[in-house]
Amino acid sequence: MKVTVLNNILEANDIIADEIRGILAPNRVLAINMMSSPGAGKTTLLERTIERLKADGVRVGVIEGDIATTRDSDRLRKFDVPIVQINTGSACHLDANMTKSALTNLDCSSIDVLFVENVGNLVCPAEFKIGEDHKVMLLSVTEGDEKPLKYPLMFRESSAMLINKIDLLPYTNFKMDEAKENALRINPRLMILPLSCTTGQGLDAWLNWVKAELAAKRKN
């Protein structure tokens, strides 16, 4: 016997993602889901970002996703901001369920921006909504400029793409124009910001983007 089902496979996750939006909404917390390949510089960018936002009086909270270790959260302890660690075990991505339980350990009324560092992986995290306002992806210049065409969903779903490690451009064959073109083909609305966490070049544009998004969220 054949039975028509038509059941969205990601529905269970999407429902919890909506619940997370509901948890963040009363305090208008801006939630940013940070995604990249392993080692593209998510934690380093968070270090630079927290430093600068704190100086500007923006209250930051962090959820750190990692398969097994607490290395990344340990690196962020020195900033004295609320951090919740999620160890995903075998899963290569955060899902809404893990994120929601992490949130019970955060006081949302004391945060303006919540950064969620997803597990280093370009494929899986894009599939699972976690109640974020924006997906932001990092691509480092050591990874090559053809990535967008290999992992289209993440590029399509992201609001911004940060091209990190531009201090290394002279030592790679990364072609900035091609990377931008490939990414914009998939997502013409993508905000592309080249930067270097090492030299600080381009960081202002990124911080301004975050602040503008926070202001927009607070306004309406």
């Binding site: 016997m1 038509l6 496979i9 996750n13 899902d95 599939e127 289209p152």
Partner: protein, 113 residues
């Protein structure tokens, strides 16, 4: 792999559906997967086989229907196939294109006994 999480969701859905229909065995599960989802059928089948042991879905096969990406131009309403992830309207060259097909991920049908 996200295929593992997806296999688990599929299993939950089909077991509930089988129960609702009083079935004791699930033979086939038809999946509709949008091209943008980047699902690898062989991987998903592998995980599904692994987790269905000792359930009504043991031995069930996954059939895949991959849905190509279709875009809809916002300025001119033209609906067109998106090839090579090129989101540009062939009619008016606008890049303001919504995805109307290619993002689905659903259990479409099951065959039960």
């Amino acid at each position: 792999m996200h295929e593992m999480s997806i296999a688990q969701s599929i299993l939950r859905i089909v077991l509930a559906e089988a129960q609702r229909n009083g079935a004791r065995k699930i033979k086939t599960v038809r999946i509709r997967a949008g091209e943008l989802r980047g699902i690898v059928p062989s991987q998903l089948s592998f995980f599904f086989q692994f987790i269905t042991k000792d359930t009504f879905a043991e031995g069930a096969t996954l059939d895949f229907e991959i849905v190509p990406i279709k875009g809809k131009c916002k300025p001119c309403d033209n609906v067109f196939p998106v090839l090579n992830f090129e989101f540009i309207c062939p009619n008016c060259a606008s890049k303001d294109v919504d995805v109307v097909e290619g993002m689905e991920l659903a259990v479409k049908e099951i065959e039960i006994e």
